[in-house]
Symmetry: C2
Subunit: 158 residues, 2 copies
DNA sequence: CAAGATTGATGTTTCAATCTTT
DNA sequence: AAAGATTGAAACATCAATCTTG
């Protein structure tokens, strides 16, 4: 039971800096996004993410499961969220006639409008927290690191 | 009202890669941490964060406000969380006699034990998701980027 | 029975209002 | 009045169980 090595017990300083920084930064940005979007456009980050994800999807619509994966929610989480968005008339549901088990979430005209209005607010927060604090090269490096983490590649810092 | 420039409307690809990757990675790791800690030690990530934060504090204790800042919760959020941890006997509360408005959260003996038990699980998830997927140099670069973001410095990619 | 989605209950976090101490 | 902390209510996400279609 007590076969703990020093490596099990303690993360290295490098690991702490990498993960701790990630957690702090992400949380701070999410809070700022939420506050800004809520104050200016009565919309949460998650709601914004749904709108923009649908906007970027072909035809402005996506199956619930697909949507859930892209906005990082569980199936039931996305059901509840879409229900709220439907209540606010920003999104509508419709059956997929090809496979009646599936439902599409579709961006309404009001949803398009709300997205257009809130997008500058969203982008400004990202720029204030990320873009303006890094050089173009650093920004690219950060993006490359996420790519490396996704694929599990081990390579230069390009 | 409609003075939106292209820059306001759309993030660049580099910005999307940097922020989107950050959000996805952080969410995935938090989910994995929560699942692993809950399954093996009946403790959530947030609870783990409180325990380790107290452990790293001088005397194993911290004022509620300080704790809230470090574990990224609002004051009331930390109050509720500490209440739960106190119910589970992992943490205890005590007044700061020097300033009776303040309360200390202190790691109990059981809290120390639970932390010791769960720490390897936590570290293993971090290593699986982060350390093993990057070179030492990439890991250091990532840490340096968070540091640059904190300070607002603009400099080389270190 | 499996896949897609939903439902209701549970647990957690936040906000606004409040209480106590300085 | 301000700082530290708490309270209760509301918002949100998750889980397990369920419903429907394939």
């Amino acid at each position: 039971v007590s076969s703990g090595s020093r490596q099990d017990e303690y993360l290295t300083d490098a690991e702490i800096r990498a993960w701790g920084g990630c957690l702090q930064f992400t949380t701070a940005v999410l809070r700022a996004l939420d506050a800004a979007l809520l104050a200016a456009h009565r919309i949460s980050v998650k709601e914004f993410e749904v709108l923009i994800t649908l906007f970027n999807a072909p035809g402005g619509q996506l199956r619930m499961t697909e949507l859930a994966e892209r906005v990082l929610l569980t199936p039931s989480g996305v059901t509840h969220l879409v229900t709220r968005l439907e209540r606010d008339r920003l999104v509508s549901r419709s059956v997929d006639e090809a496979d009646r088990r599936s439902f599409f979430a579709t961006l309404t005209r009001a949803g398009h409008r709300r997205l257009r209005e809130s997008r500058p607010t969203h982008n400004e927060v990202i720029r204030a927290h990320l873009t303006r604090r890094l050089t173009a090269s650093q920004l690219a490096t950060l993006g490359a690191l996420w790519e490396a983490l996704r694929t599990g590649d081990v390579c230069g810092t390009g």
